[in-house]
C-alpha cells in the first residue's frame, strides 16, 4: 500500500533508509543528527505521550516556535493520532495568536520555549479551548507550576509508559488515517481582515510533494535549511512534504541570529528564499565589495561583467565560444566559486524564489554565477505549486509554466488567474463564505492576482487583481508593478504608489538604510539617524534619478506610459510589520497605509513641497510612541514617447 499520510511515509522511510539522516539541528555547537529511525522513534513516543495527555482524533494542536526537530516531530505525532496541527507564526503577537487559537479551536499547544509559554499564558483566559501546553526547552521554566504545563520530556516519559501499556496503539492509529483526512490548518496572513485557516488534506500536500519531487528530480541526499516560519505553507511542503517523500535531510539553524552562518556551514543543495532575501544578500555583496582593495574590485567587476555576458548562456547549456568558456572557468575559480562559498551556496543544485517579483538584475546576478535559480508561483490554497519555470526556460519576468497536473486559466474580463489541481485546499476553516468566494464548485480557485499567459506559455503576474486601477487619463495603473520596478534599485527598500482615480501617479518611498548609509559614508555625508539620512537633498536626488529611469521604462509600454511617476516623497521611517504597515511576509498593507499616511498622500497631490506627518509607532520593546516629521516632496519629470524615440 502506498503511503498516503506523513506518518506512513515516516514509517516507510524508517524502514527503507533508517540510518540516513532525517533532520539535523545545530545545538550545543554541533549539528545533532537524527536518522529516520530515530525520528520515527521520537514521533512514536511523542504520539503516545500526547495520547496519554488526552489528544485524540480531530483535536487541534497549535505549534509555536522556531524550526526545531521537536516541533516537526510533534506535528507528525499529532497527525499520526489523527489530530490536526495548527502551526502559528512564532513572532505573532498575543492578539493574533489568540485569534488563531480560538478560531481553530486549539486544545493543545506544543511550543518552543518560555517566551512562547508566556505568550500563551497571557491569552489562556480568552482562548478558552486551550487546555494543555507542552514546552520543548525547559530553560527558565522551573518556577512555572501550572498543572496544565508539561515539558516535552515529561510527555515522552508518559509516552514510554503509554507505549508499554498499549504496544499496538501507534500502528493502529496511523493505519486509521488516510489521504482524505485533514493534515493541517495553515493560517494565511491576509492583507486585510483576520487570517483565514486554510484546510489542507494529506492528499493535497502529498500529491504536490510527489509532483515536485519528480518534476525537479529531488533526491534523497539533498540538504535543506529550514529557516522559514513553520506556519508558512512552503516550510510545510519543503521540510515535511518533500523531505518525507524524497527522504532528504532537513537542517534546523541554531537560532534566528545565526541563520547566515548556519547556511554557510550546511551549504544546502536545495535552497528556497523569497526575493527579499536574495536582494539583501546582493546588497551586502555590493556593499562589502566596495570596501575591497582596488585590484580585487577590478577583478570582481571584470569577471562579473563576463558572467553577465555569458554566465546565463553557459548555465542554460547554450553554445558559447571556447575562449569565453575558459574565461568563465577562470572566473569560477577566482570569483564566482569563492563568492558562492561565502554565501553558502557552493553545493546548491537548485534555488527557488517566489512570493513576489524579483528584480531582473538580481535574478540575472545569481544565474550568471552559475546558480540554477528559478521562479515559481504558488499559494497556500494550492499547497504551494501553481506554476514553475522549467530548466532552461527561465525568465526574470515570468513565473513559469503550469506544473504537471495543474490547470491554469486567466479570466478574460478581470485578468484574474485561476487554477485547478490535486493540491487545491479543502476549505477555509469555519468560513464557508470565503470558501465559496475563492473556490468554484468545479474546483477552480481564484488567485486574486491579475496576469496573463505570454507567447511562451509562461504566466506573468502583474498585480493583485483588485489593486489594478485606472488613472484619470485612462492609462492602467498597476501599483505593485510600479513598486517592484522601484524596489529593484538598491537604495529603495519599500515603495508605495498611488494613482487610481487620480490625475497622475505618485510614490511614497522608504530608503534602504544599509545601501544608502554606505553610499553616504563614501561621500562623507554624516548622518545620525534614518530620518536624517532620508531627508538629505542628495539622497532625494539619487532617488529621483532612479524614478526617472522607471519612467523611461514605462514610456516604452503604451498601456502604462500614462502612469509615470510625477511626484515622490521619502518617508522618515522604514515601513514596518510591527506597525501593521506590512504583513508578516512583508507585503504592503495598502488600505492601512492609505489611512495612516493620508496627510502625505494629500501633500503629494496638492502641490505642496513639504508635508507634516505624525504616526504612532511601536518600538522593539513593545512601547508605543509617536514619530513626527516634516518631509519634503519632490517632482520628477516624465519621459515622453517622443523623447524616447529621440534617444533611440
Amino acid at each position: 500500500m502506498a503511503a498516503d499520510t506523513f506518518p506512513k511515509f515516516l514509517d516507510s522511510n524508517a524502514q527503507s533508509r533508517g540510518n540516513r539522516p532525517a533532520i539535523r539541528e545545530k545545538q550545543l555547537g554541533i549539528w545533532q543528527t537524527y536518522s529516520w529511525k530515530e525520528s520515527r522513534d521520537e514521533v512514536v513516543t511523542i504520539a503516545h505521550g500526547l495520547a496519554a495527555s488526552g489528544v485524540s482524533r480531530g483535536h487541534r494542536i497549535a505549534i509555536v516556535g522556531d524550526n526545531r526537530p521537536y516541533l516537526y516531530w510533534s506535528m507528525i505525532a499529532a497527525q499520526a493520532l489523527g489530530a490536526i496541527p495548527v502551526p502559528v507564526y512564532q513572532d505573532s503577537g498575543a492578539q493574533e495568536l489568540a485569534y488563531v487559537l480560538d478560531h481553530a479551536g486549539v486544545s493543545f499547544a506544543v511550543v518552543e520555549d518560555q517566551e512562547q509559554v508566556d505568550k500563551l499564558l497571557e491569552i489562556k483566559e480568552t482562548a478558552s479551548s486551550l487546555t494543555s501546553i507542552v514546552y520543548c526547552d525547559p530553560r527558565g521554566m522551573r518556577d512555572y507550576d501550572q498543572d496544565f504545563l508539561q515539558s516535552i520530556s515529561e510527555v515522552k516519559r508518559a509516552g514510554e509508559a503509554h507505549k508499554a501499556a498499549n504496544p499496538g496503539f501507534y500502528g493502529e492509529e496511523v493505519s486509521t488515517g488516510s489521504g482524505e483526512d485533514t493534515a493541517i490548518f495553515l493560517y494565511t496572513s491576509g492583507t486585510t481582515g483576520n487570517p483565514k485557516g486554510v484546510v489542507l488534506t494529506f492528499d493535497n500536500l502529498i500529491s504536490m510533494s510527489e509532483m515536485s519531487v519528480k518534476l525537479e528530480n529531488i533526491r534523497h541526499d539533498e540538504d535543506t535549511l529550514a529557516y522559514l516560519p513553520m506556519a508558512w505553507v512552503g516550510d510545510n511542503l519543503f521540510s515535511i512534504g518533500q523531505s518525507y517523500v524524497a527522504g532528504f535531510t532537513v537542517n534546523c539553524p541554531e537560532s534566528q541570529e545565526t541563520v547566515l552562518a548556519d547556511l554557510q556551514e550546511i551549504g544546502p543543495t536545495y535552497f528556497f528564499a523569497p526575493p527579499r532575501i536574495f536582494e539583501n544578500i546582493l546588497t551586502s555583496v555590493t556593499v562589502r565589495m566596495q570596501d575591497a582593495s582596488r585590484p580585487k574590485r577590478w577583478l570582481f567587476d571584470y569577471f562579473m561583467e563576463h558572467a553577465r555576458n555569458v554566465g546565463v548562456r553557459i548555465l542554460q547549456k547554450e553554445s558559447v565560444g571556447l575562449g569565453a568558456r575558459f574565461k568563465y572557468w577562470l572566473g569560477e575559480i577566482l570569483v564566482y566559486g569563492p563568492l558562492k562559498n561565502t554565501l553558502g551556496l557552493t553545493r546548491v543544485r537548485r534555488v527557488y524564489t517566489a512570493g513576489e517579483a524579483i528584480g531582473p538584475d538580481i535574478f540575472d546576478f545569481y544565474r550568471s554565477i552559475g546558480l540554477n535559480m528559478k521562479q515559481l508561483y504558488g499559494q497556500t490554497e494550492a499547497s504551494v505549486f501553481v506554476t514553475m519555470q522549467p530548466d532552461n526556460e527561465v525568465y526574470a519576468d515570468t513565473v513559469g509554466k503550469a506544473c504537471p497536473g495543474v490547470e491554469l486559466r486567466v479570466d478574460p474580463n478581470t485578468r484574474e488567474v485561476l487554477y485547478r489541481s490535486d493540491g487545491v485546499f479543502k476549505e477555509y476553516h469555519k468560513n464557508a463564505e470565503a470558501t465559496r468566494e475563492t473556490k468554484t464548485d468545479d474546483g477552480w480557485v481564484h488567485t486574486g492576482d491579475a496576469g496573463f499567459i505570454d507567447s511562451n506559455g509562461h504566466l506573468k503576474i502583474i498585480d493583485r487583481a483588485k489593486d489594478v486601477g485606472v488613472l484619470n487619463n485612462n492609462s492602467m495603473f498597476a501599483p505593485k508593478y510600479l513598486e517592484n520596478k522601484l524596489k529593484f534599485f538598491p537604495f529603495i527598500q519599500e515603495a508605495v504608489t498611488f494613482g487610481a482615480g487620480r490625475d497622475f501617479t505618485t510614490a511614497m518611498i522608504s530608503i534602504d538604510i544599509e545601501a544608502v548609509g554606505g553610499w553616504a559614508e563614501r561621500h562623507n555625508a554624516s548622518y545620525a539617524s534614518y530620518r536624517e539620512l532620508a531627508a538629505k537633498p542628495a539622497v532625494y536626488e539619487e532617488i529621483r534619478k532612479n524614478i526617472e529611469q522607471v519612467n523611461a521604462d514605462l514610456a516604452d509600454d503604451p498601456e502604462l506610459a500614462g502612469a509615470q511617476i510625477a511626484r515622490f516623497v521619502l518617508l522618515h521611517k522604514e515601513l514596518d510589520a510591527d506597525d501593521g504597515e506590512l504583513t508578516r511576509t512583508r507585503k504592503v498593507r495598502r488600505r492601512f497605509i492609505n489611512d495612516r499616511y493620508e496627510s502625505v498622500i494629500n501633500g503629494l497631490y496638492d502641490g505642496s513641497d513639504k508635508v507634516h506627518i505624525e504616526v504612532e509607532t511601536i518600538f522593539e520593546d513593545g512601547r508605543k510612541g509617536v514619530s513626527a516629521a516634516d518631509i519634503a516632496i519632490m517632482d520628477v519629470t516624465a519621459t515622453s514617447a517622443a523623447q524616447l524615440k529621440k534617444a533611440s
Binding site: P21, R24, G29, I30, W31, Q32, T33, D223, Q264, E265, I266, G267, V285, R288, M289, D291, A292, S293, K296, L299, F300, I333, L334, V335, G337, P338, L339, K340, N341, T342, L343, G344, L345, T346, R347
Partner: protein
Amino acid sequence: MFYREAGQFYTTYAKDQGIFQLKQDKYGLWGLLFFAFLVVPIGLYLLVQGGVMAGTTKDYLYNSILLLLLVNCMAAMGLNILTGYCGQISLGTAAFMGVGAFTAYKFSTGMNYRVQKEDNAGELVSTLVPILPQIDNPIALILLAGAVTAIVGVLFGLPSLRIKGFYLAVATLAAQFFLVWCFSRVEWLYDYTSSSTIQIPLLKVLSFIETGTITFGMPDGSTKAVSVSGFLVAGSETLKVPDGAKTIVSASGFILTDFSKALSSPDASRAVTGETFRIYPVPETKYIFSLAIVVVFAFIMKNLVRGRIGRAWMAIRDMDIAAQLIGIRPLATKLLAFAVSSFFCGVAGAMLLIFYLGALEGAEAFNINESFSILFMVIIGGLGSITGSFLGAAFITLTPIILINVQPAISDVFQDKALVEHIQFMVFGALIILFLIMEPLGLSRLWQIAKEKLRQWPFPY
C-alpha cells in the same frame, strides 16, 4: 580563494575537534607531506640522473640546508611549547639540545667509562669499558635523548615556580652556561678525547644490514667478496677488505660506499685485501628519517596543545593567577612544559648530532648564540603556533644561507672576507629588528591573515 567551506559541517564533537576544521587545510597538509616525502627526494634524484643538477648540489641541499632546517624546526617547536604556549622564556635551548646530543652519543657508544691501570712498565694505560650494549637504532637513541633531556629540563625548570619573566630567562642562562661547561669539562661525556669532540657511530634501522664476507660462485671459480647492504641511517664506518677478497659488491640501496677514499684504485673490482673503504648513508635516508621524526613530533605537539594540557599551559601563560584559581597547579603545569619542551629539544639535539653534523664539539655547537637563534625562530615565527615554529625556523635557517650565497657578489666589491662576514651579521641583525617592528606577532600571524583573506575572498572582511 581556494576555500569552499560551505557544506563542511560536523555532527559529532570528535570531528568538530579534529586538527583541521577545513578539508582544504587537511588536503593542503597532505599535499605538503607528499611533496616533502616523495616529490623532493625523487625529484632531486631525477634531476641529478637527468644531468640537470650536479650530484654535489643535491648533497649540499640535503646536508647543509634541509637537514639543518629540520633540526631547527624540531628545536623551535620545543622552545615554542615552553615560551609560546606556557609563557616561560628560556635562553638555554641550545644547552638542552646538547644534553640530547650527548645522551645519544653515550648510549650509542655503550656508556663507556675509563679504567686506568698501570701496565707492567708502570705506564698509566687507559681503557674504555662499556657498561651497556651499544644502541644502534636511531629511533631508540632519539627517544632516550628526549627522555634524559626532559629530566634535566625539569631540574632547571624548578625555579620557575618562584621566578617569573625575565628573571626566569636569566636563570635559564644558568642551564646554558653550566651545561655547556659540562660538555667541555666532564670528560666522561665525550669519552675522554682530547678535542672534546663526539662522533656518532654507524646507526641502522630494522637491522637488515649485512656486512662481512660471503662466498659465491664466479665463472672462473669461487671468489671471496664483501657484500654491504641494508638501511643505514647515520654515522659512517670504515671497513676493511677481508682477507682473500678480490671483489666488493655494493648490493642494495640506502648506502653509499666510498672506495676512492682508502683504496689505492677507485676501481672496486681491484680491491686489495687489507685496504679499507667507508660506508655511509645516502643523504636521502637521513632526510626521510629526520622529516618523519619532525612530522610525528609536530603531530604530538598539536595534540598536546589542543587538549587539556595545552589549555592549562596557555592559561598559565595568559593569566597565571586566574589559572590557579580555576584549579591549575602552577608548578606541575610549568614543569610539564619544561619536560615536554626539553624532550623536543633533546630530540633536536640528538638529530643534530646523528643526522646533520655526525660529529661535533659540545661547547661550540651548543653555545649561547645557538639558544638565541632558536629564540629568534620562535619569536619571528610567532609565539604559540606550530606553523610559526616551522616558518621561523625556515626564516632564521635560510636567511644566512641566502646571504652566504649572495656573498660572491659582495666579495667582488669588498674583497675582504672578514668584512663580508660582518656585513652578513649586520644585515641579519637589521633584518630581525625590521621584522620585529613590522610584524611583532610573527610570520604565523601573517600566515593567519593571508588565510583569513583567502577564506573571505573576494570580500575584504
